[in-house]
Symmetry: C2
C-alpha cells in the first residue's frame, strides 16, 4: 500500500491537479496499483492558511509518503511578503528537506506539435533530450548569503556557489546511468554532456574534473563531453539534437532546462522528476503557476498528467502503467485536441479545449 | 592624435584582425581621423611569448591607448596549464584592470541572413536588441573563491556572486540611458528589462530593488520590467522582439548575450563594446577564437569589422565613419558574399568566400 501526497499549490495548480488526480485514480484502478492519495498545502495557499510556505505538517506527510505530486507555486499576491515566507521558499525547502538532489527534465518534441515551436521543424523534429539538474546544492543553497550594509553605507548582496566532490559524484552517477539506460533502449551509444563554466569559476572546475574522473573510473562506455554554459545555451538553439543527456549544477540547470523546454514550443507538455538517493521522488510540470490564466480553465494539464507517468515509472517501477498514460496523451493530440498554449491557429483541423476537457479526454482514452 | 591598441590573440584572432585593421586604416584615411595603430600580445600567444596571458607591457599600453580592438583568446593548446596563466584570465584581467564594466552586445538580424537562423523568420525578422552586461563584478570576480580540501578529505569548490548598490547603479545608468537614446532614434517608447533571479538569490534581489529605485528617481520615462533569468532564456526564444534593452549581471549576461546572438543565426556578425565610466573602450567580436578553423581562411571577419564601427561610434564619436563601415558590410551581404558560417547552401545566388576575400570586399566598398 503506497501513498502519494498531492500538493496543488497556487495559480493554475489546483485545476491541473484535479485533472491529474482523475487520471491517477483511473490508472490506479485499471492496473490495481493499490495507491492511496492524500492532499496537502504548499506555496502561497499554505502561507495564507498557516503563515508558512511549507507547513511542518506538509513536510511530515511528504516524508511519510512514497511520492509527491506537485502543481505549481507562487504568484504576484505573495510578492511583497518577507523573503523567508515566499511561496518559492516552500518549494526550495521541500526539495532540500527531502534530499531530492536529482532533477530530471525531459525536452521531448511531440511530432503533433512541431509547429508550436519558434524553431524550424528540421532543427527539432525528433528531439528527445534529458537534462539532469543538481537540485539541492550550488548557489541556490550556498552559505554565506544575504544583503549587508558596507562600511561606506551602501548595500551589498552576496550568494555562494559551492559544490563538494561527493555532491558532484552523486548527480554524475544519475546522469551516467540514465545515459546508459537511454542508450540501451534506443540502441545508440551512451553520451553525457557536462555543462560548466570552468574557464571562470573554480567550483565548476571541480565539477568538470570530477566528471572526468568518474567517466574514466566507472563509465568508460559513456562518451563524456564538456561545454561552457554560454556555449551550451547557443548550441541548444543551433543544433539541439547533438545532445542526449546533459548534466549540470542547480543554476545552469534552471536556465538550460527552461531553454530546452521552450525549444519544443510546448512547455505545457513537459513533466519533471526530482529524486532522492533511494528513487523516492517529487513530480511536477516544468511550467510555473501562470497566475494570469489561473481559474479560467485555460491551462494545459498534460505536463502534470505526464508527471504522473514519470512517477509510475521512476518511483513505482510501473512501466506499463506509465506508458498507458503517455499513449493516452499522444492519442488526444492525434485527435486534434489542443489547449491554447499549443494551438496552431493556422491548422483548421484542431480543436481548442480547456483544461478540464483536455484532462477528461485523456481519461476517456485510458 | 588618438591611439588604438590591437590585440589579435589566438585561433582565428590574427586573420580577422588583419581584415579589421585594413578597414580601420582605410576609414582613418577617408575621414582623416588621425588614428594611430599599435599592436600587442594577449591570451595564449602572450603566454607562449612571455609566460603571462596579459603581460604588463600590454596592460600599460592598453591604459595609454584611447581604445583597444581585440580579436579572440584561448584554445585547447593552453587547456592544461595552470589556472592563473590561461588565456581567458588575460581577457578577464584586462576587463577588470581597465574598469570596463559595461559590456554592450547587440543582437541584430541582418535581413539578408534571416535564413541562417534556427528560428522561424517571422519570430526574428527585424530583431534588434541590446544586452547590457555588467562585466567587472558578480561571480566572475567575487571573493572568496577557490577549491579547498574539507575535513572529511573531499574537495569543495566555491565562488561568490556579489554586487554592491553602486556597481548596480553604474550599469543601470548605462542601460537606462542607452534605452533613451535608442528610443529617440527609433521614435518608440524607451524600455529596459532587468534580468535577475530575485526569487532565489539575495544578490539579485538587491539588483532588482536598485533598478526599481533608479527608475523611480531618474528614469520615469523608461518602462522598466523584470524577468527571472530562466524565463528570460525562454522568452528570448519564444518572442525575442518583446525586448529592446536588457540589463543583467556578469554571469546571466554571459549566457543570455550568447543566446541572443545565436537567435540571429550569425554570431560571426556580432560586435561588442566594453566601456569604462569615461566611454573608453575595448571592442571585440561576440564569437570566440574558433581553434578548429584557425589559419584556414574560413573565419568571418565581419564581427571584428563591425566592432571597429562600434569603436568609432562610442569612443571616437564618429557616427558618420561608423555608418560608412556598417553600410559597406550591408553592401557585401547584398552582393551575396558569405563566409561559411552564414552560408545558406540552398540559395544558389550566394558566393562562398574566405576571411580575406570578405574583408577585402568590405574595403572595396569604402
Ligand atoms: C520557482 C523557482 C524557485 C524554481 C527554481 O529556480 O528552481 C523554478 O524556476 C524551477 O526551475 O523549478
Ligand atoms: C572567454 C570567457 C572568459 C568570456 C566570458 O565568460 O566572459 C566569454 O565567454 C565572453 O562572453 O566574452
Amino acid at each position: 500500500m503506497a501513498t502519494i501526497l498531492t500538493l496543488a499549490g497556487d495559480g493554475i495548480g489546483p485545476e491541473i491537479m484535479t485533472q491529474a488526480v482523475d487520471v491517477l485514480e483511473a490508472i490506479n484502478k485499471k492496473f490495481s496499483l493499490g495507491l492511496t492519495l492524500e492532499s496537502g498545502l504548499i506555496g502561497g495557499v499554505a502561507v495564507d492558511a498557516t503563515g508558512e510556505p511549507l507547513p511542518d505538517e506538509t513536510l511530515a506527510r511528504a516524508r511519510a509518503a512514497d511520492a509527491v505530486l506537485l502543481g505549481a507555486v507562487g504568484g504576484p499576491k505573495w510578492d511583497g511578503i518577507e523573503r523567508s515566507k515566499r511561496p518559492e521558499r516552500g518549494l526550495l525547502k521541500i526539495r532540500s528537506e527531502l534530499g531530492l538532489f536529482a532533477n530530471l527534465r525531459v525536452a521531448k518534441l511531440y511530432p503533433q506539435l512541431v509547429n508550436a515551436s519558434s524553431i524550424k521543424p528540421e532543427i527539432i523534429s525528433g528531439l528527445d533530450l534529458l537534462i539532469v539538474r543538481e537540485l539541492t546544492g550550488g548557489i541556490y543553497f550556498g552559505e554565506p548569503r544575504g544583503i549587508r550594509t558596507l562600511e561606506n553605507g551602501e548595500q551589498q548582496g552576496y550568494n555562494t556557489m559551492v559544490y563538494s566532490t561527493s555532491e558532484i559524484q552523486r548527480i554524475g552517477k544519475v546522469a551516467f546511468e540514465l545515459a546508459q539506460t537511454r542508450a540501451q533502449a534506443a540502441g545508440t551509444p551512451a553520451k553525457v554532456c557536462s555543462v560548466d563554466k570552468a574557464n571562470v569559476l573554480e567550483v565548476t572546475e571541480l565539477w568538470k574534473q570530477t566528471m572526468i574522473e568518474m567517466q574514466q573510473a566507472d563509465y568508460s562506455d559513456v562518451a563524456l563531453s564538456h561545454m561552457y554554459a554560454d556555449n551550451a545555451c547557443m548550441q541548444l538553439i543551433k543544433n539541439p539534437k547533438q545532445f542526449d543527456v546533459m548534466v549540470t549544477g542547480n543554476m545552469f540547470g534552471d536556465i538550460l532546462s527552461d531553454e530546452a523546454a521552450m525549444l519544443t514550443g510546448s512547455i505545457g507538455m513537459l513533466p519533471s522528476a526530482s529524486l532522492d538517493a533511494a528513487g523516492k521522488g517529487m513530480y511536477e510540470p516544468c511550467h510555473g503557476s501562470a497566475p494570469d490564466i489561473a481559474g479560467q480553465d485555460k491551462a494545459n494539464p498534460l505536463a502534470t498528467i505526464l508527471s504522473v507517468a514519470m512517477m509510475l515509472r521512476y518511483t513505482f517501477k510501473q512501466e506499463q502503467a506509465a506508458q498507458a498514460i503517455e499513449q493516452a496523451v499522444s492519442d488526444v493530440l492525434d485527435d486534434g485536441l489542443r489547449t491554447l498554449d499549443i494551438l496552431d491557429a493556422s491548422e483548421a483541423a484542431l480543436k481548442q479545449v480547456g483544461c478540464k476537457e483536455m484532462g477528461q479526454a485523456v481519461l476517456a482514452k485510458l
